[in-house]
């Protein structure tokens, strides 16, 4: 089996700050995802990448940038943190993009903006 490691686990930022979240996977999966998890709103896709150096915007990409530096890593940048923002960011991966493909998740980075 594999694992998805997200760093940091907790991130406290200040309003207006640029913040970067990192994700590493050792599944050797092609596709990686960043989701935002808010209570009562499900999982909303921010960015995904189907291969190294590929980037695709999700429904929630405004205010975020992403980078797929290599196959195993995918980072997310909050370009300007919003005051009082609190959310969990989940990184995920799958062997490929497919209709019946299982997605594997990391445990998340919990962001608090003060």
């Amino acid at each position: 089996g594999g694992i998805i490691t997200q760093t940091p686990k907790f991130l406290i930022g200040q309003e207006g700050q640029k913040l970067t979240l990192k994700c590493q996977q050792n599944f050797n999966h092609d596709t990686m995802y960043w989701y935002r998890q808010d209570s009562g709103k499900g999982l909303r896709l921010i960015y995904y990448s189907i291969t190294e150096n590929d980037l695709q915007k999700g429904d929630l990409s405004e205010g975020y940038d992403a980078s797929r530096e290599k196959k195993s890593s995918f980072s997310l940048t909050v370009t300007s943190a919003q005051k009082n923002e609190m959310a969990v960011f989940l990184c995920a991966s799958s062997i490929r993009q497919g209709a019946n493909t299982e997605v594997f998740f990391g445990k998340g980075t919990r962001l608090t903006v003060v």
């Binding site: 009562g40 709103k41 499900g42 497919g98 209709a99 594997f104 998740f105």
Partner: protein, 111 residues
């Protein structure tokens, strides 16, 4: 567009009682449906996924039946356990292979 609806945000049950978490969907395709479970401080993980041949998927005592006529994929278990307390997401894989997620149902099992 495609959508997934989970009507219950919170379900509280006593241990030993049956569990049913609702999931309905809208899709212009013939989608695959999934249930993911997230225990506290853990990563979400796949619990069940629908089959193409109308078989009923089962895992850890949970099962779900895809009813295309009613566009539903409700999650059921005959007897709840304390360890079933978690957040449950229903998801749909549509025409562009992206997962569409429901809003989640938090299940609390009390002794």
């Amino acid at each position: 567009g495609d959508s997934v609806t989970q009507t219950e945000g919170l379900v509280t049950l006593t241990e030993g009682l049956p569990v049913m978490l609702n999931c309905t969907y809208q899709s212009t395709y013939s989608p695959f449906l999934f249930w993911y479970v997230q225990h506290l401080n853990e990563a979400p993980k796949l619990l069940l996924k629908s089959f193409t041949d109308n078989k009923r998927p089962e895992h850890q005592g949970f099962h779900a039946t895809l009813h295309k006529s009613s566009s539903s994929f409700h999650l059921q278990k005959s007897s709840a356990q304390l360890s079933d307390s978690a957040l449950y997401y229903c998801a749909l894989s549509g025409g562009n292979y992206q997962l569409i997620w429901g809003s989640g149902t938090k299940l609390i099992i009390k002794p």
